[in-house]
């Protein structure tokens, strides 16, 4: 494998990881602060993508579409939190899983009801189309490069929000001891709604960014949700830093695994068998990574602090 191909695949892995981080950040915050397993997080990702596609179709502006994705997903998050999820904080995880799974189905069929069963069109704007030349003669998609940059900026903003602001302090305190910060006079239910809206908005934003290069369709959030859970388990549940490192690890493992494993098996197997075995093992790679991390650090890389 040549160096440019390796660098391009590494960039692809980082881009995938950054996107996963946007999903996983909200999921891990919601679990860390409220102790809630939210299966409906993938549905909010879908809501963001559909809101963006509808806005882009109506206005033609990609920036407006991105803004709409955050606003609509956050709004859907607030609605769901105040109407349904608020009643689940005291219940055990099984009840939460059941109720949020019901939400997944409701969102999926509701979206189909409004938008129909056929995929929607959402494209990147012209000024982000095409490719750029990077050093070492690498031709790389401008849009993917933009996703990496935007994702890193959002990640930095999130670290600042959690680590340096008053709201962030309350969120961190909420992770440590819910009763105590309620006793100290923090409006805990408003904090919960805020965290949920933040997580939902990030998921919706990720949905819109990815929707532009994938297909905007019902059920698009399901596979991403599973990966996001893998990320937060690897990173340690509740830890933003863990989500970031976990997301990059998963992104790189998945992308490079798909490239390298078939090549590795081709060293000592028939080409056809190597392709097939390599592909099968590559789709397992991130789960093997998760298993390995859990054996070495049962609470995840940054968990249990």
């Amino acid at each position: 494998m040549t160096l440019p191909l390796f660098i391009e695949q590494t960039l692809n892995g980082v881009q995938f990881g950054v996107m996963l981080f946007l999903m996983a950040a909200g999921l891990t915050l919601i679990f860390g602060v409220m102790g809630l397993i939210n299966l409906a997080h993938g549905a909010l990702y879908m809501v963001g993508a559909f809101a963006a596609a509808a806005t882009a179709a109506a206005t033609g502006s990609f920036i407006l579409a991105l803004a709409a994705s955050v606003v609509f997903a956050a709004f859907a998050g607030v609605l769901v939190e105040t109407l349904i999820i608020r009643r689940l904080y005291g219940r055990d995880h099984l009840d939460q899983v059941l109720a949020t799974f019901a939400l997944v189905l409701i969102f999926a069929e509701g979206t189909r009801w409004v938008f129909g069963s056929f995929p929607l069109f959402l494209d990147k704007p012209d000024w982000l189309s095409g490719t750029v030349m990077l050093p070492f003669g690498i031709e790389y998609s401008l849009y993917r490069l933009a996703i990496i940059l935007v994702g890193l900026v959002v990640a930095a903003g999130l670290f600042w929000l959690i680590g340096r602001t008053r709201v962030g302090m309350q969120i961190r305190a909420g992770e440590n001891d819910r009763e105590m910060i309620a006793a100290l006079g923090v409006n805990i239910s408003r904090l919960y709604t805020l965290v949920f809206a933040l997580g939902a908005g990030l998921a919706g934003f990720a949905g819109a960014l990815i929707g532009a290069i994938q297909s905007v369709q019902v059920g698009m959030g399901d596979s991403v949700l599973i990966l996001a859970f893998v990320v937060i388990v690897i990173g340690g549940i509740g830890s933003i830093k863990g989500a970031f490192v976990g997301a990059l690890l998963v992104g790189l493992t998945d992308t490079l695994g798909r490239q390298l494993l078939p090549m590795f098996f081709a060293l000592f197997m028939e080409p056809a068998a190597a392709t097939s075995t390599g592909a099968s093992l590559a789709s397992m790679a991130i789960y093997l990574l998760m298993a390995a991390v859990l054996i070495l650090r049962p609470k995840g890389l940054f968990g249990g602090a």
């Binding site: 069109f121 990815i210 905007v216 369709q217 592909a279």
Partner: protein
């Protein structure tokens, strides 16, 4: 979330019966059970098959034809439950509707073993065309390999010599690459199996770029194809793309947009096939549903018309006569010439289409015939 819709043809059929007062030979009636995917990912295909099928049923306006429709949610276990229910409590005579090969494998052998007829409007797994064929199983669409074989034949005629080929890592994906390689004579720059349901193809596109290929063949149905095409168009890789119609059907093209323009794809049907039956089908489908039909809709429409043609000739209670009537395929297919081979799979022309833009709508036009009177490769293994 299971949608149950019981559609008796009486309401719509009443009008038709007045217009067509011919006495049908059978007073007994026939009940069809349609199991198809109406919710979840891939629902667009099932909805198209259902709409095409019901359009033909409504146009025939027969009061002796009853259709029961159920949603399999693309899940084999649910499809099996529905089939049991339809056979045992609904007492259907004919089953149809399944989109996905893995669901067909779960339902069809059991249904035909119980003496029911099964008409496939889409799935055509190689197992059911070869050794596992059955006299009561009729495929009205294609055997899975067919469109890929035509793509391979097209690649030869377009003088493509070094293809990079990819498909998802599941049985129909393997059938696809096998089908392409069966006819394609050039070299392979690379062969990649992706994960089923994969949405990001950056890693594969990077490999294509590095492989030195002169063309790309892919089979990525539904949303997978949309993702691949959009990312491919944005990658700066500028090789010609060939694929089966599944990634370029009417339901998907609007979501792909300009990225699909000019792509060559293979199909047994297109809306510009110049026959009176096809023109009438396209116009009436548009009028009834407000959208252009896809190849899935054409398959549903043909399936219903095949069934109705058999009803005109024989009573379903006389299984041998009804089977012979189905096998005769005495109906006007919207794709033009249509006949069943020995294994009850179609012998038909497969066309090469090109994606174009008509006004604001992305669609296909036929540019060549890929394979004429094409039968599948498994017929020899079928002993009925």
């Amino acid at each position: 979330m299971t949608i149950k819709s019981l559609i008796t043809a009486t309401a719509i059929g009443a009008l038709g019966a007045l217009a067509l007062p011919t006495a049908h030979a059978q007073a007994e009636g026939l009940k069809v059970g349609m199991i198809t995917t109406l919710s979840g990912g891939g629902a667009g295909l099932g909805i198209d098959v259902r709409d095409g099928f019901m359009l033909a049923v409504n146009q025939a306006g027969r009061s002796d034809l009853e259709v029961v429709i159920e949603d399999d949610q693309r899940k084999p276990d649910i499809a099996v439950q529905l089939a049991d229910k339809m056979i045992q409590s609904e007492k259907v005579d004919v089953l149809t509707g399944i989109i996905w090969s893995n669901l067909a494998m779960a339902v069809v052998p059991a249904a035909t073993a119980q003496g029911k007829f099964y008409l496939s409007p889409n799935a055509g797994p190689s197992q059911l065309a070869g050794r596992g064929c059955h006299q009561n199983y009729f495929n009205v669409a294609w055997q899975n390999d067919n469109l890929h074989e035509a793509a391979g034949a097209y690649a030869n005629s377009a003088e493509l010599k070094n293809s990079f080929i990819l498909a998802p890592n599941y049985p129909a994906g393997k059938d696809a690459l096998t089908g392409y390689k069966r006819f394609y004579e050039g070299a392979l720059a690379g062969e990649v199996y992706t994960k089923l349901g994969q949405t990001d193809y950056a890693a594969e596109i990077a490999q294509i770029r590095a492989s030195g290929a002169d063309s790309v063949f892919f089979f990525l149905p539904g949303g997978m194809g949309i993702s691949f095409l959009k990312q491919y168009a944005d990658s700066g890789v500028d090789l010609p793309v060939v694929g089966p119609a599944f990634s370029f059907d009417q339901g998907i093209l609007q979501a792909v947009g300009d990225a699909a323009l000019g792509v060559k794809n293979t199909s047994q049907w297109n809306k510009d096939i110049d026959t009176a039956a096809n023109a009438a089908f396209v116009a009436s489908f548009q009028e009834a549903y407000g959208r252009l039909p896809s190849l899935y809709a054409s398959q549903g429409f043909d399936t219903a018309n095949l069934l109705i043609s058999a009803m005109d000739k024989a009573d379903v209670k006389d299984a041998d006569a009804f089977r012979a009537a189905l096998k005769a395929a005495d109906f006007t297919s919207v794709r033009g010439a249509f006949a069943f081979g020995d294994n009850n799979h179609p012998i038909q022309d497969i066309y090469v289409r090109e994606v174009i833009k008509e006004g604001d709508v992305y669609t296909n036009k036929i540019v060549a015939t890929g394979l004429s009177n094409h039968a599948d490769a498994y017929a020899a293994d079928c002993k009925m």
